[in-house]
Symmetry: C2
């Protein structure tokens, strides 16, 4: 079996027709949902690209792998999905974005050459690279945000798109009335068509690279196909730029009560530039149709992949996963972007198709178990026929759910957010180690704990599904707060770093040392088991004759 692990960047859980979106029709996402299981309570380990992805790719919580924010290197030697899958005989390839930063200091300390096979995998988060492009080719007076080469920019140049950075000037820009560049960085331009042929834009380009990959494989393979879209800049080529309009823009899901004595960290986020922008109707009315168009394009390109798999017979032996690294507030809760723990940010789409007959009984169903993004790595290892190394991987395989079983499952999900490098940290005057947020969600109550001496936040999603009413502002919810804090404390004591000894190894160690002569605490030797007596009461050596 192969694994097609597709990730969209910043795709909200509820912007799919199978998830109930009233205007956005996504027949190809729906098609996979009809073939597989759609998990309706899936959460990321951190609502920001880099940290979230490092959890997907290691199967470990953010506090376990340590790469807590964009650009925080993943420590050298951290086990990755690629390590585990290669142990089972399955290749693990990257096609697209990882947002991973290599631990150059650590590699230097260990003498790992980036151009060796081992070093190259360390640099690329354990993947073998078919193509990597992180898709954020911003450039300014200090140079490019991303120092790597951009295969996509190279592609555009080869197609005649001119300038140093066609990603910015064509794929992510329109043309204004004066015929000048209208940058997609600016929301005012979000309704313009990107100045690029649709088939040359980012999503079709990566789809074509994926078809190339599939045709070149003999298998078994796992391919992480990782699209940059519908991530900002919010601009999309024709015909997607005007498929949706004002009548498709939902009212922002926000409430005045949220601005009444808000949690200080939440308040700092409500006041930042992006949130201020998304609090404006004109911004939402320009951005959301573009965001929907980007998703519609993703759906059409998913159709291309599905048709190719079907045509080549690969649909019968390829597991397909559709997910995202986090959502997008789009003005809900007075916020833009992601970062905090309301569902529009921390909840993700998670659709899994298992082609094997064991999964026939669950096709087209939904599952509301509390799923975490770290559950995919063990799912893939088990799907590849391996034994899940659960002393390293902290997630749980989803295969039992896919095969109609009712496994014992976690009682709560945890997500984390480290905002130590952000303007909000400066505004709140916090030291880096106090800029850490933790979410504990038990399926009904969602607690946010903030380091740095702040009060928590608490929502009851049963009676307040929109998460407007922070119950921690009131008294009278001590019991729920204490219960969720006890869950967080239990999680804090988890066995996360005992990665060099499996449980089986440990059980095998029990009682071994006596057979290697470690005999402490014998009173007179009568305690030695009979079968060892001869050995330990054998013939005497000569007396000491040392000269």
């Amino acid at each position: 079996m192969n694994i097609l692990f597709i990730m969209y960047d910043q795709l909200r859980f509820d912007y799919l027709s199978c998830a109930g979106h009233p205007h956005l029709h996504t027949p190809n996402f729906d098609r996979v949902a009809a073939m597989g299981v759609r998990f309706t309570n899936a959460y990321v380990q951190s609502p920001i690209c880099g940290a979230s992805r490092m959890s997907f790719y290691t199967g470990r919580y953010v506090s376990s792998h340590g790469a807590a924010w964009n650009g925080f290197p993943l420590r050298v030697g951290e086990h990755t999905l690629g390590d585990h899958l290669r142990d089972t005989g399955m290749d693990c390839w990257l096609i697209g974005k990882t947002h991973m930063k290599a631990d150059k200091e650590g590699m230097k300390r260990l003498g790992l050459a980036p151009d060796s096979v081992i070093g190259a995998r360390q640099v690329e988060c354990g993947f073998d690279v078919w193509i990597r492009d992180d898709g954020l080719w911003g450039s300014g007076p200090d140079g490019f945000y991303d120092e790597k080469r951009s295969p996509y920019n190279e592609y555009l140049k080869s197609k005649g798109y001119e300038g140093q950075n066609p990603w910015a000037d064509f794929a992510n820009a329109g043309i204004n009335e004066d015929g000048n560049i209208a940058s997609g960085w600016m929301f005012a331009n979000a309704d313009k068509p990107a100045n690029i042929r649709e088939k040359d834009s980012e999503t079709p380009w990566l789809t074509a690279r994926t078809v190339d990959f599939i045709e070149a494989q003999s298998g078994p393979w796992c391919a992480h196909v990782s699209y940059i879209k519908p991530h900002w800049p919010y601009i999309v080529p024709a015909p997607y730029h005007d498929m949706y309009g004002l009548n498709h823009v939902p009212a922002a899901s926000r409430h005045e009560v949220e601005r009444d004595d808000p949690h200080p960290v939440y308040a700092a986020y409500m006041e930042n530039r992006i949130s201020s922008a998304f609090q404006r109707d004109d911004v939402r009315q320009k951005v959301i149709p573009a965001y929907m168009g980007l998703i519609k394009q993703c759906d059409d390109q998913l159709g291309v992949l599905l048709d190719h798999l079907e045509k080549t017979g690969r649909l019968k032996d390829t597991m397909i996963v559709l997910t995202s690294d986090h959502g997008d507030y789009l003005g809900d809760h007075w916020l833009g972007e992601k970062d905090l723990f309301h569902d529009p940010s921390v909840k993700i789409p998670m659709i899994v198709y298992d082609p094997r007959p064991e999964a026939d009984g669950t096709r087209g169903t939904t599952c509301d178990a509390l799923v975490e993004s770290i559950d995919l790595a063990p799912t893939f290892v088990e799907a590849a026929g391996g034994k899940v190394p659960d002393h390293i991987l902290e997630g749980r395989s989803l295969l039992p759910w896919l095969h109609g079983e009712k496994p014992e499952w976690r009682e709560f999900a945890v997500s984390e957010f480290d905002f130590s490098p952000t303007p909000q940290a400066v505004k709140l005057g916090l030291e880096p180690r106090d800029c850490r947020l933790f979410m504990v969600f038990d399926g009904r109550y969602k607690l946010m704990h903030a380091e740095g001496g702040f009060r928590p936040m608490l929502f009851d999603l049963k009676h307040d599904p929109d998460e407007f009413h922070d119950l921690a502002k009131e008294t009278g919810h001590r019991a729920e707060i204490d219960r969720l804090y006890a869950m967080l404390a239990e999680w804090g004591r988890r066995c996360a770093q005992r990665v060099t000894r499996s449980d089986d190894d440990i059980k095998g160690m029990r009682g071994r040392s006596i057979r290697k002569g470690i005999l402490p605490f014998l009173v007179d030797g009568s305690e030695v088991p009979d079968e060892l007596t001869e050995h330990y009461r054998g013939p005497a050596p000569q007396k000491h004759t040392g000269g």
Copy 2:
């Protein structure tokens, strides 16, 4: 300045005359205490050799480095004291025992050759090896407990001690009435003189190697001189074997109330072989005088080192640390060995001499601050003139205390014990991840939390300094228990793995991305700072002319 970091194995905090022992006179330990500061509340991160030492050598808690029990490999790439000291230009050498097991799997995964300089340091816990001998040369039908070579056994053979394992047959054995070997593994033989010349026994042998080392150095150096004694086997050569007798053996510090409804984990330890042995007066009467003799020999050999340093002028520029990896119950609390969290096991001697004038004001004093074994690594880095990498090292430098300052300090100490490979785990029917104990001590109250659904233990050392009365058996101490659990929860959320970004790095990242073209969330560009306007509203590129 140089650093002489001396560790004794299984040396109780209170078996020194400077710590108030009524019978054991240790003038050389006392001499260092008179030159420096004796810390009277020093605790190990785990009361067992391997895990405790990995915390000393990494400056990190056991749950952070993951090497939770003897023989659990230290994960490849974990930062060590040697890494940090070499960054400051100071060498870091090993002379004696570390009990470290290399992460061979991890090294293979990263392609590290054990015979390369980098690989050799990975294998040896970051040390350069002057001499390594872990000092436990038990052998049985399954071979040697320790697979490495034994420089000490080689030394003994070169001196004419015969047989395959003279460590066992001479250094750790006496001769019985029939002229046969009387193994030191058996307490019944603890009163016999070891069948070896005193100068060839382990402690003088390692002292001589240390003198060789010091004479060979130009400096600056840090030397970890790590003695196996007074660790069992409990047998010592003449004249130390009969220096102490019955009148020097204190009554066991134990109480019937401890056997009344004991905590299940404590109960399992009270019932094991070693504890049953130490519950016998005849065993304590044979073992404790031998244990005292071993310590007396350590003190005499410390005198040899001090005299050598003084004679060569090194006493003026060498920091000296005397400590231990854990204690020894010796029958107290109905227990033998170490492992649990009563003071005789988890509390250690910690004497630090700083030769510099800044320390003149504190010479000969004691300090009752809550010290953890992980505090030594940052102390050494700072003493070596380096900046403490506090995103990696979890301890705190002791230099402020040595220099008469009153720093803000921790409110509680944490220790951990993983008993997953032990017979107690089998007896209690526990899975490996439930075999984990945590101690939280705030200077007065000591809480033990046990995973696996057990109740905690609680002691009030102010009113019960002997730790006989487990307050968690009663009701009415909820507030203290909750307060200590809150400390444990705070500790569980600590920032332990964010090791690739220092706080300074993070502060430096704040606000950088806009200068590299990441301009999300601009409404119309008017938000761009003036100095960037030209860049971001520069001349338009040609329109798309893509062919």
